[in-house]
Each structure stands twice: as structure tokens, then as C-alpha cells.
Amino acid sequence: MSNIMEWKVIALFVQHFSTFMNALVLTLEISIISLAFATILGVVFGLFKISKIKPLVILSNFYTSIIRGTPLLVQIMFIYFGVPMVFGFKWPMLMIGTWKVTSMMTSGIVIMSINAGAYMTELVRGGVEAVDKGQMEAARSSGLSYGQAMIKIILPQAFRVMLPSIINQFICTLKDTSLLSIIGLRELTQNTKIIVANNMESFTMYFIVGVYYWLIVNVLTMIASWIERRTSYGK
């Protein structure tokens, strides 16, 4: 890179710092909230999947096969454009205290939650199955119900096993939010697209946004390994 090129990167980085910060916050908000909902979905459908009740198993398999069998981009457009049209509603704008959640953001969170939830379902199933069978037997033999044993004994151990994969899923979800640019949500990628449309600096701007993604992903990876070390009880 020439000297001028380097200066340009820094100048554009400084110039657009504030819009990138806003976009970064939005990207993180969507990722974190979606992962939280996805975890709930994952636990519910993951437990359905290993249950002995046939309809629940079928329902859960249906859910994961649809989500894993179609592209996220298609899911986004289907839910944002298609679903409201047929069912005659608009994705609502929400006010939570002073925090404004736009309709695009609401639908973005819904989509990303449902999508990541399917992958979390598989993680939960795998995590629970990885816990030794004797744990459930010990808990049940002391008089705990199936649900109590799950909550107190099995799930905490399953989450320990799943933790690296959960962080990995978080990283995937975070990167996948870039696809939400298709509906005009001003997250990192859409923000870059808008800037490029004005200044035509596609090389520099997409380089800068790449650095943003790379940085958060690596910070998350570091946090992940720190959590992993901390939760290895007594070892």
C-alpha cells in the first residue's frame, strides 16, 4: 500500500467513526438479544428433541430442518417482507424505557433468534446427551423430578460442555447480522454500503468494516476461553 492509501484509511476511519460506533452498537444489540432468545428456544426445542413424546420430537425436527435447510437471506426476506403481507401486520416499533427499537430491528431480532435457535437446539441436544447417564439416575434416585434433575443437574453440566459452541454460535450470529442489510437495517454492513454509495471508496470502507468485525470476533473468542478456564470446577 502506498503512503497515501494508509493515510486515507485512517482519515476515513476517523471521519466515519461515530456512524460506525452506532452501527456497531446496533449489531451487538441484535446479536446479544437474539442469542438470548435463541438460547431459550434452543433449550425448549432441544429438550423436545430428546423427549419421549413423539409429537414434540417431530415438531422440533421440523423446526430445525426448515431453518437449517434454507438460506438465512431467504428467511430474512420471507419474514420481513412476506409474512407481514400475508398476515396483514407491520413489524412493530417498540419503546422500552427510552430505548427505541425500530420495526426493522424488531423483525431482525425475531429472524436471528429463530435462526440461531435452530442451531442452539442441536447444541442443547448434543450437550444434554454428552452428560453421563448416571447423573440423571443419581438425581432421580434421590427423589428429584425429571424437570428438577434437568435444571439442577443436567443443564448446568450440558452448558459447560456447550459453552465453546455457544460462543461460536454467537460469533456466527454476529457475522450473519450483516445479511440484515438487505432489509435496510443500519448495522455495520449497511452503514458501510451507505457510506460507499456517497464516497465511492469501496476498497477502504469494506476494509474498515472488516476490521470492526474481526476485532469483535476476536475479543469474543478471548472472553470465551477466559470463561472456559473459569468454569472448570476444581480441575
Partner: protein
Amino acid sequence: MENKSVQEETAMPSHKIVVRSLKKSFHKLKVLQDINVEIKEGEVVVVIGPSGSGKSTFLRCINRLENINGGEIYIDGKNIHDRKNDINQMRANIGMVFQHFNLYPHKTAKENVMLAPVTLKRLTKEQASKQADELLVKVGLSDKADAYPSQLSGGQKQRVAIARALAMNPQIMLFDEPTSALDPEMVGEVLEVMQDLAKGGMTMVVVTHEMGFAREVGDRVLFMDGGYIVEEGTPRELINHPKELRTIDFLSKVL
């Protein structure tokens, strides 16, 4: 059959456990063919037999860790395999100790002991904490209260597991080969705790290969083979003077 006399003699209301024509199979494999046992309050029954004889399965049927294919099992006169009875409540009265300990690895020794009584609201946290301290003293591990299972030896783990099983104040204790996964030098410490329990009047069913324990602590020994109770009697009768050919054969290999 000689177990007829045992049945008549013990056909009294003081029975803790009554097993009638119990049958259990895994798919096509018949593991338990026809088991009939009656166990009195405070009795220590030791179950011996070759591997695959169904002794562990028999034990696991008693607290319904396995569903059965025929027969009945009564605990204090209540059929534990009857879906109308509250299985969780009945199990809380039956402590179980496993071959591989099955301690909760994410909880300390003391938390392992406290978990069931607190979760089931039998005791408050403070009461459970006090009780756990007492139980850990009883099994000789008061200094290991805050240790995680991964920091304990096999013998220590099994003693914590016994304390955990006792925390629900059970009237019956089931032991599924409690010393089989232990290094030889740790077997003694676990058997000692079990012996103390037996002396305290606990009703116990113990599946084990420890003939010394069977002889010293057992009130009655059952020899199982091929899904049947082949022979039973006092330890002296059965171990020293076995009558059945299969018992003689088995004992000649393990003694």
C-alpha cells in the same frame, strides 16, 4: 424349593421390601425371570452372582430406575411400579449408591449432600448445611466439604455419595457394586461406612463381590444366576456350605 420356608417365616407386616414374580427383559434378552424376595426392616441383604446374572438390574428395579415387564415390588406395602403412586416421593425414601459414584461434578462435596433436601424443600438451606456437616463427619470427610469431586479419591467420592444418599433420611439403602470401581486400598474405608450403617439398623440391599463384607455384615445372602435367585441363606450357610452346583462353582472362583 428352600426359599419357601423363608417366605412363610417372613410373611409378616414388618416387610420393607416385597418382590413378587419380578420379570424384566431388555428387548428379547430376559434378564430377570422370576424373582421373589421379602426383606425385613433392618435386614442387610447381600446379592452375589456372576456378571450378567441380573443382580444390578434387580437392584435398579427396586427404585424403578428400570421399568419391569411383570410382577410387583412393594416398598412399605406400596407398589412402586404402580403409576398411581408418586414415584419421586417413594424414591426419596430409598437411597442409592452407584458403582461409578455419579457425584455431581459441578457441586462441592457438601453441595452434593445438600442438593436433594433443599431442592425438595425437606430442609431449609441452614438445616441442610448443618445436616451435611454431620453426614460428612459420619463418613469421615469433614475436611473435604468444599472439595469438588474431581479433587477426591475414589474412596472419598463413594463416601460422599453415601452421605448424599443419606441426606434424604431414607429408610432403605441400595448399593450397586459400591466398591467395584475402587482401587483395592480404598475398599476398606467404604465398607467401614456401610458396616456402620448396617449396625445403625438401616435396611440395606447390597450388590457386591466382597465376600468378606457379605460374611460379616450380611444377614442374608442371595445368589443369583441367569435371572433367578438360585440359592439363599445366611452368609454362613450359603458361603461356607452352598448346596446348589452353580453356587459351589461360583464361590470356588471368587473365594
